[in-house]
């Protein structure tokens, strides 16, 4: 009973957070709502005994991704009047996407795939089952290939983003730290016999 209560609490808060992201006028408030939303989604993971996933969600999304989001948004100057200008222009496309999504959701929830009988029962594991260990085992045996491919894609993205931003400007003076550290007394000081 307590579990169901917490589920409805977290689920309701996720929806409130999601609504807040869209409806908040201030972009900064939107970001805060999104963080709130992630927190409650992590709460849902905890209810499913998936504490590893829940904490990773907070660690990666709230702790890193959203910080960078906020970092960018902080620098923007948001002009409310300008934002509203394009509202009518994008209304047909946006409305269409929303409508399609709504129909999809209704069709999916009515199809019976997500019916409680169809889903494998979400029982609670004993205290001795360690989530992290189980995920590690599956990830490094059964899904090793997919895991490695994902890792390589991320590595390529990493190298790519560094290459894109790497440029040496001719007019700026850079310091060469190894050169600075390697300077000896003899390089700078010359004794002259008078």
């Amino acid at each position: 009973m307590l579990e169901a209560g917490f589920f409805y609490l977290f689920a309701a808060m996720v929806i409130v957070g999601g609504m807040g992201v869209v409806l908040a006028r201030n972009t900064m408030h939107s970001v805060m709502f999104l963080i709130f939303c992630f927190f409650n989604a992590a709460g849902l993971f905890f209810l499913l005994d998936a504490e590893f996933l829940g904490i990773i969600l907070i660690l990666i999304y709230v702790g890193a991704v959203m910080v960078l989001f906020m970092f960018v948004i902080m620098m923007l100057e948001v002009n409310q009047a300008k934002l509203k200008e394009g509202f009518l222009q994008y209304l047909p496309i946006g409305g269409m996407i929303a409508l399609i999504l709504l129909i999809e959701f209704i069709a999916a929830s009515g199809s019976g795939v997500f019916h409680t009988d169809a889903i494998a029962a979400v029982g609670h594991f004993g205290k001795d089952v360690n989530n992290t260990v189980e995920i590690g085992k599956v990830l490094y045996t059964q899904y090793l290939l997919g895991f490695e491919i994902a890792a390589i894609i991320l590595l390529v993205a990493l190298v790519g983003s560094i290459v894109l931003t790497l440029r040496t400007r001719k007019d700026a003076k850079y310091q060469n730290i190894s050169k600075q550290v390697n300077v000896r007394k003899e390089d700078r000081l010359r004794k002259v016999r008078m």
């Binding site: 900064m28 408030h29 504490e51 904490i55 990773i56 702790g63 890193a64 902080m74």
Partner: protein, 362 residues
Amino acid sequence: MEWLDMAITAGIWALEILAIAVPVALTVAYTTYVERRVIGIMQIRKGCNRVGPFGLLQPLADGLKLFLKETIIPTNANKLLFVAAPVLALVPALVAFAVVPFGETRLFGIWDKEHVMAISHLNVGLLYILAISSLSIYGVLMAGWASNSKYALIGAVRATCQMISYEIAMGFALVCVLMLAGSMDLAVIVNAQAGGFWHWYIIPLFPMFLVYFISGCAESNRTPFDLVEGDAELVAGHIVEYSGMWFATFSLAEYGAMILISLLTSILFLGGWHAPIPALDFIPGTIWLLLKAAFFIFVFIWFRATFPRYRYDQMMRLGWKVFLPWTLAWIAVLGICTYAGELYEGLQFLSDAIGFYQPWRS
């Protein structure tokens, strides 16, 4: 009776939380006192010695002063976030203490099994601490943005870069600890180091210990990494517009983070509540843990009195080009050493040496 049980459980929880939060707040207050006295001694002057005997009532006087000061909110500030920011900074600093184990107890023989003295004994405690401490950035970020001041904004931007960079090195240093202990449960990590100081992880992980402690220093924005509030160029960084109690909340969060890092360094690398030699086990474990943590708090203060502030680009270089390669290399070294014996018979001695610190392998 179900409701009564729940009420009793809730009451015990509240008591547990108070039993951690109140000592943390008091420690923060007296850390400020110790800091001023120690820096005073190091700089050959007196430090605070006017209020009460030896100036011992100074923290209370400071608290009273800050409490009575007017809180000024700048006209163009975003009021909601301006007020929320100090709270956002304080909450993660205190919430992280929920999983810190302060020792093991049988409650004077009432329990027949050892219980871990922590509010919540999580089996992913280490990850929890990483996740929560990564949230402390939001307080700084919000404060910087909501103040609507250029110094505060620059301070917040610097803080973000700094915390994100050092978090990575910190996380990898913790991975090394995990590879030895084989668990993310803080109590298991401590018990893996039982039996004297030669079992402590500081020995196989000495470089990681340095990386962790220095990154912790950068994470909690302490000197020499306090570029966030670098007073020479940014007045006071993100806290420039704050006054009175809201300002005090920020420093409470900063000192709370400092105490947390000290406790965690003792838990992860210095054997937590275990005595350095088994003969000294008659002294309760909690006292050992607090002594070790107190030593690290002293080192934090010592740093502040000793080192000048880093230059910004040098600090970034330290995080990305020094600490990150170190930690990655050490993970590889540990991994190779662990399985060297299986790959090549002659290297069995390496596996045995590392295996001494890895209770999960035997």
